[in-house]
């Protein structure tokens, strides 16, 4: 993951002007960003007038921005079963509208990389997921470099940094560089055509997204470098995680039984994780009409693999815990050449029994 892409455009956005910019973006897009809801930072679509409430202080939201590319519940097709005038059965189907363009605003660099990891699954391989692509092509990613890593962050264990730009169309870097005080403005740097278009749009200009003062070029470079040089305490402690090869031989290891005893088989880790993507497909409806949709499912749920007839290949917790961590640290690596984790730390914050990736990755090294 070499880091030094060439910016396509640079601008300056004042902190005070963020609200106006978001309101301008909201005119043509659904804007999703971090907001405080009853004391918890959540990533969600901003309601009208909520643009000023965007919270860029919390390092990461409890839930992840993957909702913007892979909604928890996504209608695939509307159907209608009926009979024609002759009494013969008919079936008509209709694709639902995938909605307006989306701006994912205020996510962290790790979350932007996570979206690229999802793109690898849905946009490459034998099949291209058309529904995902249609939605994805309308998404603009505006990330914010982290001024201060959280206690649970470990992005550098995967070669990322709090100032990374991979996967982002635009990255906002605090003008005064990292540190608790973010300063009065952000450098808004576009790395893609889509990002450049966003920064240069009439709406953005009118909302106060200004040209970068000529004198600030070097200051901006310094700020960006400082963000990219930031280390995370947990990532520092763990070091680079590179356990894929080791895991090849650990499928039958008794470790999985021991470590999974604490698991409560909920789906918290998989649902807050920005790179987990497993889904199910189900139908809803009554009186012959309804919707077929996909929905987030979790390999941690006991019934995840239960087949018609009752056979369940993963009835034991050890098998499901093993599956999750093998998928993240071995199976995905075999198929796509990198790990299915960006070190965001959400599993560390949310698992009620602390059964999360840093724990397992660290333990696996010692096996």
């Amino acid at each position: 993951m070499a880091e030094s892409p060439v910016p396509k455009a640079t601008r300056l956005v004042t902190k005070a002007g963020l609200g106006a910019w978001l309101a301008a973006l909201a005119a043509d897009n659904t804007v999703m960003g971090p907001v405080m809801v009853d004391g918890k930072p959540l990533f969600r679509a901003l309601a009208a007038g909520q643009e000023g409430d965007v919270d860029l202080e919390s390092v990461h939201t409890v839930n992840s921005p993957k909702v913007g590319v892979l909604p928890q519940t996504e209608p695939m097709v509307r159907y209608r079963l009926d009979k024609d005038s002759g009494g013969a059965p008919t079936l008509s189907t209709e694709a639902p509208d995938s909605g307006p363009p989306v701006v994912l605003f205020g996510l962290r660099p790790c979350d932007a990389v996570a979206i690229e990891l999802l793109d690898k699954v849905f946009l490459t391989g034998d099949f291209v997921d058309g529904a995902y692509k249609e939605r994805r092509d309308k998404v603009t990613v505006v990330a914010v470099a982290c001024p201060v890593p959280a206690k649970s962050c470990f992005c550098d264990s995967f070669g990322l940094t709090p100032g990374a730009s991979r996967g982002a169309d635009v990255v906002l870097y605090g003008r005064s560089g990292p540190g608790k005080v973010e300063g009065d403005a952000y450098y808004a740097v576009a790395y893609t055509d889509r990002g450049e278009a966003l920064l240069g749009s009439a709406g953005s200009k009118a909302a106060g997204v200004a040209d970068l003062p000529g004198t600030e070029g070097q200051k901006m470079e310094n700020a960006i470098s400082s963000f990219r040089a930031l280390k995370t305490p947990l990532g520092d402690k763990l070091g680079r995680i590179d356990v894929a090869g080791k895991l090849d031989g650990l499928f039958e290891n008794p470790y999985w039984e021991k470590i999974s005893a604490r698991c409560v088989s909920c789906g918290t880790c998989t649902f807050v994780c920005p790179t987990c993507y497993c889904f199910g497909v189900a139908d809803t409806g009554a009186a012959g009409q309804g919707v077929r949709f996909r929905y987030w499912d979790s390999c941690k749920f006991p019934q995840f693999l239960t087949m018609a007839g009752g056979h369940n290949p993963r009835p034991a917790k050890k098998m499901r815990s093993r599956q999750r961590f093998m998928h993240k640290l071995n199976y995905y690596h075999h198929r796509y050449g990198e790990y299915l984790c960006v070190g965001c730390g959400r599993c560390v914050e949310s698992c009620p029994v602390g059964l999360h990736l840093p724990l397992v990755a660290g333990d696996v090294r010692g096996l």
Binding site: V264, C266, T268, V348, G354
Partner: protein
């Protein structure tokens, strides 16, 4: 708030030593095949642990952060004949009794070690403190009331209600008047306002089922909400299904909730799940005259039927 709420780390350390000894003895003698307690997990968080040998018993912990309710994990070991050990404080024993009185685990297969309790701290809050402060709190036990688990604030059962052996002396019990602070506010809302409130509440629910999975009262072999045939709970995370999930669960545990609040504590998005449970508990006290609905009884009010019940035809 109980008057005796306090955390005495030194005393807890002594309890820990005695617990390790007792569990080690039970395991060494083969009296139990495994002992369910806590061990130190990530970053000092006590997590459920089945010690399987006398040596493993040395990993058991008892400290100010032993908040996780263990009893539900017994259901992982339903298969087999072996006896199990388990350590419980007051609320831990309520959870255990819930499982026992729902007849989900045989009492004869258990050796229960009880620990009278004067309070446990919220691990999330303590572990979030800067290192120096955290160390100070865990060593001295000196901490503000807001660091205790919510359930300590209404605890009237500090002594285990079921045990085979006890570590430590019983602590004085206090009658704590059942206060449901938030319920009065909810009851004061108009119906539309209340509906909007609950819809907003559950709208952030991510349907992870952590609340259901840690709840000792939610102990069905197969949760009806997991079933496909019939499909009670649609898999779509839309407002109607969210309400369905939470209302059904609240009604299913009504009368059996032990008011441990674990559901709320493990919820990653912060849904105040106890509000509805408290309301139902208050109703049960008022409608059925049950004084301490959170203490498991042999038969719960909603599990009883009497020919004199007012809704039985001809009873009045």
């Amino acid at each position: 708030m109980p008057k005796n709420l306090a955390v005495d780390p030194k005393k807890m350390k002594e309890t820990e030593t005695a617990l390790r000894a007792e569990a080690g003895k039970l395991l060494g003698e083969g009296a139990v095949t495994a002992f369910l307690g806590h061990e130190e997990g990530w970053d000092g968080l006590p997590v459920p642990f089945f010690a399987a040998t006398a040596d493993e018993a040395k990993r058991l912990v008892w400290n100010p952060l032993v908040a996780f309710n263990l009893a539900k994990h017994l259901l992982d070991r339903l298969d087999g004949e072996g006896k199990l050990g388990i350590v419980v404080n007051g609320c831990g024993s309520l959870a255990l009794n819930r499982i026992l009185k729902d007849r989900r685990f045989p009492r004869e297969r258990l050796h229960v070690v009880g620990v009278p309790c004067t309070g446990v701290l919220d691990p999330d809050k303590v572990l979030a403190l800067p290192d120096a402060e955290r160390k100070e709190v865990l060593q001295s036990g000196k901490v503000g009331a807001e660091f205790f688990l919510k359930r300590c604030g209404w605890c009237d059962a500090p002594n285990p209600v079921v045990y085979d052996s006890l570590i430590g002396d019983k602590v004085p019990e206090e009658a704590v008047p059942p206060l449901y602070p938030r319920v009065a506010e909810l009851e004061a809302m108009k119906a539309e306002e209340r509906l909007a409130y609950f819809q907003g509440l559950y709208e952030k629910c991510i349907r992870c089922f952590a609340c259901r999975n840690v709840c000792p009262a939610c102990n069905c072999r197969e949760c009806s909400l997991d079933q496909w045939d019939p499909l009670w709970l649609g898999r779509a995370a839309v407002p109607s299904e969210q309400l369905m999930y939470h209302f059904i669960r609240a009604f299913d545990v009504a009368g059996r909730c032990i008011r441990c609040g674990e559901c709320e504590r493990v919820c990653s998005v912060g849904v105040p799940l106890m509000e509805l449970n408290d309301k139902l508990m208050k109703d049960i006290t008022e409608l059925f005259g049950v004084q301490r609905p959170h203490v498991p009884a042999d038969i719960e009010p909603l599990g009883q039927f009497d020919m004199g019940d007012p809704d039985v035809e001809g009873s009045h």
